[in-house]
Symmetry: D2
Subunit: 373 residues, 4 copies
């Protein structure tokens, strides 16, 4: 994430005419050797080894939090109190209560706050939003969403931090499901009630001493530890506007690497999206001429498409990292012009509320009204 | 359905070497003018206007029931008592109790019984079964299935019999969901518990006096009547083998005409199928060489594929109606050789049990254990 | 082919309201045992072992020629002289000269004549024609077509009759390319000039004594014989209307079983088709709203689509054999109503003309004007 | 192109561990206001307004040429004479003769030289090369390639420099076809003989005074000027290894924005690629288990895939611009380690040779042996 953010920050100014230039002042990490090298490699002017010190620096306006989830709250509140604008990676916090405290701190201190639901900044998803806002989909009946990965199917895959509830907060639900929930809120609206189920297919895994990225390997004789998060979570919902929703997040779906996808059906048309073909949006219109109706595969790479004027000629596709450039572009614009940002910490809170409502529905084996939390 | 069955029956002998020849003795319908013409057009030797009379004819060995669901039970029991083998369209009955009575009657009278879950006879679905049986998918983690149609989105679409609970028994759930449930049982196994939700998006529709097929049109000033079935039903399940399942059946999914589709994820691989491309099966193997893994689009049209030797050269696709030829081929074989049939009335009962468990879970707003019914 | 035709003839009356009923009088074959059995199995009233006798029978109005290409001419001329309407499989004849003689005989005797370019009767291809005729594609710039198969890649595959020029007339060019040429003429128009290249990748193959279908196997010690037809033929063209065309027919394209496909680009839009997904047509319109343009995947299975009213509800796909039902339906209609047929022997002649012009261009290594032949 | 190169140069060091660091010394342009701003925006230390001066600077080791094609030769030769390593965008030169002079200059001066066929650096295309080199495709029978765009279909689109032969050298053939030719040489091998055809569908277009990018608009009363390049060029080839090839490059293919695509068929398998889904490679293996063969859609986004370790987790796709990062990475490595580069000016010359052979075949209306040029 540090690399993704650094790369994106360095590109905003090159591709977008921003009201404000971004100066990359300092990167922060506990290991001085590592952070020094990272600063040089990723283009930062300097570095810090203490985030407490960083948030107090006078020459810094913005704090960008990419630390593990269990640090988000503390850093964000300190940043807010130091009047820094805050960009925070998702999930906003380990739980709803913490998320609400972070929001309160940001609001109280009058700083801008954004949460890193970067999928909102896929041009195809913004085009989907545009179709909906223009009424081209009509009244929405269905939203169904999947986020499928397959990196932990192998029982020998070790017990990395993402499988530890204390650090990660949640498993597939909080990591992947959170993106689906935010997309649903962005495109369809708020959730009324939910009921879910979840499963940890492999309950013990070898403990690994040190890991690099996701590709850690444990020794053959490594002791076993408990997996404390969900491998897969499925839930159903009714939205406040009456639409039905179904959601599934899993890390046990062989063949899918990062298949974040959804479909929306409305009274006038439908929309389909899958991240692995992120430059495409499928759109069906019931208002097309009878006999010639069909799902259109829109290549969302033309000048007229969201953000694409900044990039390459039509058909010259962009990738995952561009979503970060887009979100930072919006963040900088909002700070410079003092305008509203979305998704902000409110959206982070709302997402956490749904995540927790689902958790509660699983524990209590019953439907939970989201607003009851 | 009468046309689909007649066509299929007339083709079995032409394309399959059966132990027994099929003689198409008589078609039955209440309207003599219509049934006489149908007999001639569809290749039947004769006709009857009373099913009571038909089931008693000595020259007939098999009764094929394609009447509306509310007639299934009565006809099937009478047929059984007359020692006729029975083929019955799905859903087997209006409810679980009736289905069980039909099964009991068939078993007591020692007749062969088959239920028309024709999707089992799509070559690609049989190939999926083969992959699973050979262990190529491994332990199954996920089954997710959709059956999407869009023919009643328009509020002006009239109140046809399929929207009347008394005749149809159920809406999308019983009509479409039943196929998904049977496919799940065929490929994954039995259901442990379920919870569902359903919705009737359009609650009143114009009453139409007479309809032809699905394309009925009501007058502009037609009175309105109540839709008494579900437009969409979603449910989640845990299978007895521990796999998680999600199901959705809807008639409100713009752009999808008959999109019966599912995906299975296991420890060794995955399978994807969608009926609108029924000659294809997608298969991902985790055992393919690293770096070259990917979903294979198998064209299930080669001689070595289930049933395909009977048809055309490779790549010369077949269609919906062929599933009927295949199921009748199996039925005739089973009668001729006195072997076991699947899916039989037991499968019809099991499917009804899941359907009703879902209905109950919706009513009671809680998880229902399928075996409790 | 005999099976495909028999099946189709028996279905025309069941699915289409024809002006004339089809009586399946007699099937003809040299081997009495085989033909007798075929007559019974395929639903023919009787059989003949001499085509000379068959064409003279008074109770027969139509001769349907599915014999190997080297018999077409003789049978067709005899049929015409006996005032029988003629349906002849493609290629019409072994060469252009023969094709012209057949056309002359048919015209002189005033009989109806149709040639079996069955792909014209794929509903999606007829929909493509409709789009073009309605001006939705505009002025055509490009036609590119492929017909890819892979059944003779294995060098052990034996020397079947389709690889013998004396019987088959031609290899991939006449067998597969002929369908592409007819589709091009149907959709784009006549050819101005052509230049091609061809290749026989495997020049010798084991001789097999007897073959069944395409799946013949030669003995390990079988003697080798010469392959006398092309394995692959590619050619370019300029159409009379100025469009550019490229064509490729091959039996050496691993993974493609029967991939007859083409794309058309015009000033207003584009069309894509591939036979292995024959129920779909892709259509791009430059007149769709800017920003929402994309290739539409039209499911050509609705009542309003060509021929589909006769079959199943929307989304219930049809297959290869249905193209034969459609072409016989048209043939019968044309005879009953004395209307014009397409494609007729003229189309067969025009196709042969292009085939031969390509052959000549390969031999002479230069562009050939099609009308010069 | 300046932006694409600047962006890529700034990223090489961030994502690849290079033997040498890249210092972005100076960007060059005639308009000082523009070039000064570009230097600041794109991250260059300084700028020059004279390329003659630039190539003589002592603090510079490498010259990267992105000027219009008509400047390539002069700059490259001067750079070589000043002992600068040279990266030159494609096409290498306006014609074969110039390309050869550039190659000679580079070789004589012992500098490294690379030509910007960036598609070679798409991970999926490198994976295709790996499959071929490992023998998984076997003997190659067919290569067919298309490069389809649609940006000049509108007759009102003005006479931009790319439509002027004096500046651009060629139209679709040199611009798009060149990429296909290089891909063919990379994957299949050298060309034996060619024959082509080309067309300028719209021969006159409005003259525009000034253009920005490709989106120039001419005034309604703008005078008309002659289009002097081809709108579309098609050609056939036989490769030296006996494979057959077909090529098509066009800017008149409605719906295709940047559809560079190809398919390769061999004795053991096939490969398909299309740039608009550049993170995917399709691969069919005849050695997969019978009955389960099919084109695999490989998501080329895993650590083990070419270059992908440098980027994001599996399934997090990359885009067009990454091909430039990859090519500069290789260029820098080759300079630092004094190793061989591909594609170098030799490849540029070979590509020009094929381009000109095709042009000659069009002019002379006959097959041209490529080595005769």
């Amino acid at each position: 994430m540090g690399k993704a953010h650094s790369n994106a920050l360095s590109k905003v100014g090159m591709f977008f005419e921003n009201s404000a230039n971004i100066g990359m002042k300092a990167i922060c990490g506990r290991d001085e050797v590592w952070v020094k090298e990272a600063a040089s490699k990723f283009g930062w002017e300097g570095y810090e080894t203490s985030w407490q010190k960083l948030v107090q620096r006078d020459d810094i306006d913005v704090i960008d939090i990419t630390a593990p989830s269990n640090y988000h709250k503390e850093i964000a509140i300190a940043a807010a109190e130091n009047k820094k604008h805050i960009f925070c990676e998702k999930p906003l916090a380990l739980n709803l209560k913490d998320a609400r405290e972070m929001l309160a701190a940001a609001e109280k201190n009058g700083v801008k706050h954004q949460v890193g639901f970067n999928y909102r900044f896929v041009p195809a998803i913004q085009l989907a939003k545009k179709l909906i806002d223009e009424g081209k989909i009509g009244k929405i009946f269905h939203f169904r969403a999947l986020y499928l990965q397959d990196w932990i199917i192998d029982p020998d895959f070790p017990l990395v931090w993402r499988l530890d509830k204390n650090v990660a907060g949640s498993g597939s639900h909080g990591d992947l499901g959170a993106h689906l929930i935010d997309a649903a809120r962005y495109l369809v609206g708020d959730f009324e009630k939910v009921i879910g189920m979840s499963k940890t297919f492999i309950k013990e895994r070898p403990i690994v001493e040190k890991m690099i990225g996701l590709s850690a390997k444990a020794n053959a004789d490594a002791p076993m530890g408990q997996v404390t998060v969900d491998d897969a979570t499925i839930f159903m919902t009714e939205f406040k506007n009456g639409a039905l929703g179904s959601f599934e997040a899993t890390r046990f779906s062989a063949g899918h690497k990062n298949a974040m996808m959804f479909e929306i059906n409305g009274s006038k048309g439908s929309i389909k999206f899958e991240f692995e073909r992120m430059n495409e949006l499928q759109y069906f219109s019931r208002e097309d001429e009878t006999g010639y109706q069909g799902f259109r595969v829109i290549q969302v790479t033309e000048d007229i498409h969201p953000y694409m004027k900044a990039w390459w000629p039509a058909g010259h596709v962009i990738g995952y990292e561009h979503t970060f450039v887009h979100e930072f572009h919006e963040f900088v614009e909002a700070i410079a012009n003092d305008t509203k940002i979305a998704p902000d910490f409110n959206d982070g809170v709302k997402c956490s509320q749904v995540l927790e409502a689902v958790d509660k529905s699983i524990e209590e084996r019953q439907w939970i009204n989201v607003d009851s939390l």
